[in-house]
């Protein structure tokens, strides 16, 4: 009996590249690869030729020139004497600020709505259905504009807060007043909130193009330490519970760990609050949170939360009823059943689509252009591009930065996803 391996091996012939199924697929792939390569080479060559014809060279040197323009919202120090690179960083941080806060807000809201939508209470579940359907079926841009218009049209002008001498004499109150014990002023331009100030701040650490605020750094380190201590406290409580079946009382220790170090640091650095005050045309002092930021953040968070709610609902429904029935049979209350049994399992289903929602939200921050929010698109891809005329460089750089941010988010979330997967024991 002839075995398959006994088939005599043909010597290789060129025609086999096409007619032999073993080789054909490789031939096709090589061919397509070549075509793609040629196309890319043509694009590059064409770009280079056209740039040369316009007398423009491809050069990122402009990033180190003086920017010359001002930016409304800056999370790091910036003046019009700073470089275009610095402006890029300011824009990038503005993008990240909206993206990070937006993701957090959207997740919290989304999980809440998703869980409530499954509620047995008819009214609550219907309300949540309306929430989801209304938000996700209207274009995001409209939500951003709507939020912005509401914020800027329904709020008083700064001068409505002014008390003139005659008004004081007549005992009249101004047309508008500050809220939250006179610490926060909402005008048609933005929200003025108190700013933390330090009498004994730690100053700045200058690292060339980057400078780091040491006070912020100190707070981050202390906060990180507190969280670490809190987690090890929890771990030891878990261990005790495993051993003895009794969970030690830890709430006052956790509270102490979280609150005390930060308070001590604040006291040491001389923390006090600078309250915004009407001076001249605007409120001075404190921090101005422009409505463009608030509108973008709120609209992005609400819109994305509707999608996350659906993802969460699908994730929960993917867990078989037997799981919750078993948990009830063990005597767990509904809240604990959700937290300890259902959600941990649902996370496996939830996280992969959640990643793409985070990516969407991050990229959607570039819609901030509609409300003049100066994010990366507004600085590097807007004013810098325009004032320097470096379209190609700016666009490529901007695409590379968005790509990097997205890849980082994916990587982090995939890592998290791997850690919540069911582990075969």
């Amino acid at each position: 009996m002839a075995l398959a391996s006994d088939v005599p091996k043909d010597s290789f012939r060129l025609s086999m590249l096409i007619y032999d199924t073993r080789y054909r697929s490789i031939t096709i792939q090589v061919f397509v690869l070549l075509l793609v390569g040629l196309f890319l080479a043509w694009l590059l060559q064409n770009t280079a030729a056209n740039l040369a014809a316009r007398g423009k060279e491809f050069n990122f040197g402009f990033l180190w020139q003086r920017a010359g323009y001002d930016i409304g919202q800056q999370l790091i120090p910036y003046t019009n004497d700073s470089t275009h690179f610095r402006a890029l960083l300011v824009g990038l941080l503005n993008t990240l600020a909206v993206a990070v806060l937006g993701c957090i807000l959207a997740t919290v809201l989304g999980v809440l709505v998703g869980v409530l939508r499954l509620s047995n209470n008819w009214l609550v579940s219907r309300l949540m259905t309306i929430y989801v359907e209304a938000l996700r079926n209207v274009p995001l841009l409209l939500w951003i504009l709507l939020t912005y218009v509401i914020l800027s049209e329904a709020t008083p002008q700064p001068r409505d807060f002014r008390i003139t001498d005659e008004m004081a004499a007549a005992g009249e109150a101004p047309a508008a007043s500050m809220i939250l014990f006179d610490t926060v002023a909402v005008t048609n331009r933005g929200t003025n909130v108190p700013a933390p100030m330090f009498t004994r701040g730690l100053g700045m650490l200058d690292l060339g193009p980057l400078s780091i605020n040491l006070t912020t750094l100190a707070f981050l380190i202390v906060l990180g330490g507190s969280i670490w201590a809190y987690r090890s406290l929890k771990a030891s409580a878990d261990a005790t519970q495993e051993e003895s079946g009794v969970r030690p009382t830890t709430w006052w220790q956790s509270l102490l760990i979280m609150v005390l170090p930060v308070s001590l640091l604040s006291a040491a650095l001389g923390l006090h609050w600078e309250i915004p005050e009407l001076k001249g045309f605007n409120f001075a002092g404190g921090i101005l949170v422009a409505h463009s930021f608030t509108a973008l953040l709120v609209a992005l968070a609400l819109y994305t939360s509707a999608f996350i709610a659906e993802i969460v609902r699908a994730g929960i429904q993917a867990i078989s009823r037997g799981q919750s029935e078993a948990a009830f049979a063990l005597g767990l209350r509904p809240g604990r059943t959700m937290n300890l049994v259902i959600l941990p399992q649902a996370l496996r289903v939830i996280i992969p689509p959640l990643i793409s929602q985070y990516l969407n939200l991050t990229k959607n921050t570039s819609l901030g252009i509609a409300v003049s929010y100066l994010d990366l698109r507004g600085t590097l891809g807007g004013i810098t591009l325009n004032q320097t005329g470096r379209e190609l460089e700016c666009m490529l750089l901007m695409m590379a930065i968005y790509l990097t941010i997205s890849l980082i988010i994916s990587a982090v979330m995939n890592f998290y996803n791997a850690s919540v997967q069911l582990k075969a024991r």
Partner: protein
């Protein structure tokens, strides 16, 4: 409009080199239509009316060009551009010429590889505020919120002005004049700054325009004029000399109404060359010989264009000022037609 900046940026680098560079005049002739980069809408300078007909000071120069090339001022298509998109639109070949309140600066002339072939309006940057703000000088604007159009020279001048005077401001960056007006009227900014002519034009369309004043300071030089791509000198000549023709017409008293009669009777040698009665000036730059006569017949001379669109008595109500002819103490001075 936003998207066209992106597309334009890509297009700017991928069109075949030759097509957009040389022979714009030939392209225009072959197309049978001039494409003119215009404002998105600035009353008096360039704005479509209710029927979609474009009118304005800058628009008339486009019409004069179309008349010079085709003998027909309607053979022109207007593409609205914002401060941000305009130069990309020009570089990518989306428009043949940009006539849109654009300031001639060093970097636009060199780095952006553009050519400013004339100055049709000598301007400067000013500030507009609400009357009851109680401000009479731009130097009193410390701490104010200022609306500013992005992608403009005015954005940079503003930063310089406040820095030099050691005062601070909060910028609100807007894309075009209509958005600036909306923010300004809603009180989202205390002051609106752009070219003084633009301010006057903007104010003319505001519902209660007399509530607003333009502050006396002019903080910059803004020579505004038509722009073409660098490297196509013949096309640059066509635009430059069409504009010059309108100036010389004013100098010589040739108007829209009398141009035919002057052409038939004038004894002035320069006028005869201008109107194509003698010499072959038009033919030398690839135009019909009566090109400039057609341009004047279509829109009138420079003074008429000014008076009918933005001059005293119109809603914009601008004085000739720097834009008077050199013979009347202004700066408008055309090289001789010889």
């Amino acid at each position: 409009m936003k998207k066209s900046a992106f597309l334009g940026a890509l297009a700017a680098t991928t069109v075949i080199a030759g097509a957009a560079m040389a022979g714009t005049l030939d392209d225009v002739k072959a197309r049978g239509e001039l494409i003119c980069g215009s404002n998105t809408g600035l009353t008096g300078f360039g704005t479509p009316d209710a029927n979609g007909n474009w009118t304005g000071f800058d628009v008339d120069l486009c019409r004069a060009l179309a008349a010079a090339i085709f003998g027909d001022p309607t053979k022109v298509k207007f593409i609205p551009t914002t401060g941000e998109t305009r130069f990309t639109a020009l570089q990518s070949g989306e428009v043949d010429v940009l006539i849109r309140n654009s300031t001639w600066t060093f970097s636009r002339d060199t780095e952006l590889a553009l050519d400013f072939v004339a100055v049709n309006y000598y301007d400067g940057q000013g500030f507009m505020v609400k009357k009851d703000l109680g401000v009479s000088s731009a130097k009193e604007l410390d701490g104010a919120t200022v609306c500013i159009q992005t992608g403009t020279t005015t954005e940079l001048n503003l930063a310089d002005f406040f820095k030099q005077n050691n005062i601070s401001y909060q910028p609100v960056t807007v894309a075009d004049d209509s958005e600036a007006q909306r923010q300004f009227l809603a009180g989202a900014c205390d002051a609106y700054t752009t070219d003084a002519s633009g301010l006057a034009a903007s104010r003319a369309t505001m519902p209660d325009g007399d509530q607003y004043i333009i502050l006396p300071e002019i903080i910059s030089k803004e020579p505004l004029g038509p722009v073409v791509r660098h490297g196509d000198n013949n096309w640059g000549d066509v635009v430059r000399w069409t504009f010059n023709a309108l100036l010389i017409a004013e100098e010589k008293g040739v108007t829209k109404a009398n141009v035919a009669e002057v052409a038939a009777s004038s004894q002035d040698e320069e006028v005869k060359r201008l109107l194509g009665v003698s010499g072959d000036m038009g033919a030398k730059i690839g135009l019909p010989n009566e090109a400039f006569k057609n341009a004047i017949a279509a829109v009138g001379n420079y003074g008429e264009v000014f008076a009918s669109n933005i001059g005293e008595g119109t809603a914009i109500n601008l004085a000739r000022g720097l834009n008077a002819l050199w013979t009347q103490g202004g700066l408008q001075y055309a090289a001789p037609f010889r």
